[in-house]
Symmetry: D2
Subunit: 288 residues, 4 copies
């Protein structure tokens, strides 16, 4: 979807029951909302109904700030729904967290600069200083907060303070090589996107390219997921792979992997920014 008129998006899930789609579409229709996109999914094992519906705000009879309440009253409460309401045309604040590898950072900043994504990037946070030059090239404030065993939680408090101060809606771990503490993660549920350099669940943890080489796989991958307190086990948003062979040294696996990583991460970010992603029980529904 590539649209310019303002619209609203509802991401809904609830126990599956008869008539839910009809109820939701009738609600929007009755209040003069023109539906421009609707997709639904039923998880038949879990008996859960999922829906993404987008409608034009022009002519819609309910004011933006009242939609949540009216939807709750008329529908949501009756079906035990959990939902999120989004509006297009708002630029979310996105923070980047990086360490030493520049490829994902460059890729994100290039897209940002080109206007490919409707976002603001108010800051970059890093535990190393290596990439500060790139931040400077793109005129983004860079915060160097070194981390060691002793200062980790204190530095995270600093990070969170910065993120709050800059009103950040989404955090991207662009090859950030630190494990976030549970406390940090709970501040931003389903709002931290990581890129892992393997086709998870294969090769979790550190050094997946070394492991891939040792195992002699014929395909390597990259996986982007929301960060949860279970390391490398958060809900997967996007994965992709590339063929390799015995000719690939660990170094060439890394070289090929870098391209995968940056593309997979950027696709995951795109889906998140489009409000395409619903998370339920550690899995994602991606309405695209």
């Amino acid at each position: 979807m590539d649209r310019t008129k303002p619209s609203a998006i509802l991401l809904i899930h609830c126990p599956d029951q008869k008539g839910i789609i009809a109820k939701v579409t009738e609600f929007l229709s009755r209040h003069k909302g023109n539906i421009i996109d609707l997709d639904e999914h039923v998880d038949e094992r879990e008996k859960i109904f999922f829906m993404r519906v987008e409608w034009e705000l022009d002519g819609f009879a309910i004011a933006r700030e009242e939609i949540n309440d009216r939807f709750n009253e008329e529908i949501g409460a009756h079906y035990q729904m959990v939902w999120k309401l989004h509006f297009t045309g708002q630029k979310p604040g996105v923070a980047l967290m990086v360490s030493k590898y520049p490829h994902c950072l460059y890729d994100i900043l290039s897209r940002y600069q080109s206007g490919e994504w409707e976002i603001e990037i108010p800051l970059i946070i890093s535990n190393h200083n290596d990439l500060s030059d790139i931040a400077a090239r793109f005129d983004i404030p860079f915060y160097h907060l070194p981390i060691n065993k002793d200062n980790k939680l204190a530095q995270e408090q600093q990070q969170i303070a910065l993120l709050k101060k800059h009103d950040v809606d989404l955090i991207i771990l662009a090859r950030y090589m630190q494990i976030l503490s549970g406390g940090f993660i709970k501040e931003y549920p389903n709002k931290i996107i990581n890129i892992h350099h393997s086709f998870l669940p294969a090769f979790p943890g550190a050094k997946p390219y070394h492991s891939a080489y040792q195992r002699g796989v014929k395909i390597i991958g990259a996986s982007s997921h929301y960060v949860t307190t279970e390391l490398d086990e958060g809900p997967l948003i996007e994965q992709d792979v590339v063929r390799v062979s015995h000719k690939d040294s660990i170094q060439s696996l890394m070289r090929k992997g870098r391209d995968l990583e940056k593309i997979v991460l950027s696709r995951a970010i795109w889906h998140h920014l489009q409000h395409n992603v619903l998370v339920f029980k550690n899995r994602t529904v991606i309405f695209e």
Copy 2:
């Protein structure tokens, strides 16, 4: 979708207007139809609305044979809709047309025999006798109707007579190496599926592997499409590709291509059998 209860499927398209989804879902809901799958799409350039909706027939208040009329009265006629109604649980009659290459034929018969597809295959038609042994192995009647310049239209009349006699709903050209006449094609609009051995529109016509070799492409493909009177230009249903290199001779392109051909063709057949495919202006909408 892999379900066992009987359900009905509507494939709809019409000029895009406000409120269509609400109208259709309200219609189904009012008549006690439980929607189990709904997907819609708006072609924003053509301003056409597309929809696939599937609902359970158990408890639905309108008898099967009256659904078309009631839908027309209450909705279809008011929105200039074009639609098709399908019911699950009916085994369509499928005819195979082949020439000399066995790989797609084997693949289809293996799936048929394994019960992967809910179909009947009452006959195989061929312009050569080479594959009659395979038909015999799988106990399918095989009709050998040789074709030359002079007898082509007469033989096609024979073919059509056989297809009618066996009540065939779908014709699969499983590497059938004859061009069907316009008259034949018009008898079965969007009911003839062909597999072409290139990633169309590259290399249309005969000998695409030779052309791919000459051009030195790094990727070859296969394309499955509905047959129209424009050779190799019908609506594409499915395509897939595989990497090749300078090491591939024409023979090895053919070898790799055979696997592509059979898989791509079978995916296209699957979509057709699931009633996932809508055709509009030579393009397909595939609701999956």
Copy 3:
């Protein structure tokens, strides 16, 4: 390579040293062997040299049965080489072991029947009787050897006796759902090819499609490997993947996976039959 003249193939590995290629090519050249294909690889971490060289036997000055000795004397012994000598134009005996799933079996028999592979299939062995009809359709002797905890080793002795009797060179586990004992495996080192229904090392063991569904992966795969005593950890020969989404139930993952499994298995078999595969330390070098 798709050739018809008789040729010989040497698959060699040895500690990496200067001048090995020159020595081998000089040896062949001096004895009037025309090299038609040469590929080499150096594993720079292990410092091991690998080579596949194929030359025409027409005009070659050394008789087939003396090549091994002469090569050993003039070169092999001087470089601590391990090598295997193969001749084209010989049809290896291939045994299939299956259980209940027919798709890989059908695929292999179709290729066999079409003459795609230069092999003989003297027998099919199964622990269930479900697929005996397919064997009958293709006129292959089918041995039903049911296996339970108590009779496993005894039945394996039966299987081995059958394999020896039929002079089998290669065993294909075409979704054979039993774990072979170490004793069996040691009889056929790097001569048993299995297909596993996941992109190993993700989801080893049973029920990988269920695990893939639970994990919410965006890609599923299949992996073909030589069987070793470490379950699902043998040297990988070929892997491939296909994209999936939240829309895929476990059943549809299985459906998509079946196509992957049969294609990946057949590619692995092809490489083995072409003598393209060298195994070293649980990894494969695939010269293609």
Copy 4:
């Protein structure tokens, strides 16, 4: 290959004859050259032999500047060979030509800046001024040479003068939206790499995403090739594809295509820089 010691690379082709590999390897061996990589290929239709051989210069008995002559005397002249000699460790001068789309430019400059490629980029040439800011961000001289019907050849003279002045070895058309004249192209045979935004030969010329949309393809691609005087028909170096569906508007095809374009272009550049590419009769042999 990821090595640090200085080495030499020969890219050879000649009419296929017996004993060529032995001759070449014996030559290198006799002069104390340690072969670290050798790959050969025979085009059996054209009867042409291709070879890439790389050996260490440390200890090699022939001085760099004499290798060509000695090779010619001892071997090349006797086999009607055409060859090129390259040395690793030399940074080629690479010029970028761009117009208005920034994605390939950003991608190349990011790799350059990160040290991924061993090159110098002394200048960027553009017929528009839109991307001059990016050049400035990366501190690369930017030459704005607007082109219209009347000044085209004169401006190309300017461009060539700049390229000569900066001693450029490779020209990358990173979505440069002008057709180079034959005169320009002949100055740099197999030294101009273009990225075309379709899976050639499908959709040559302008607006391939519009054509792909109209045709309803299920896969889009990008193709990188050497520029010849036949528009979009030069030898293909690399291609890749991505799946699309009816949901993709032209704009989203473009969005997905941008990622393909930059990755495919960068892979082609990598192969060229590694001296992996041999061109013969409009096709490439890529030794990787």
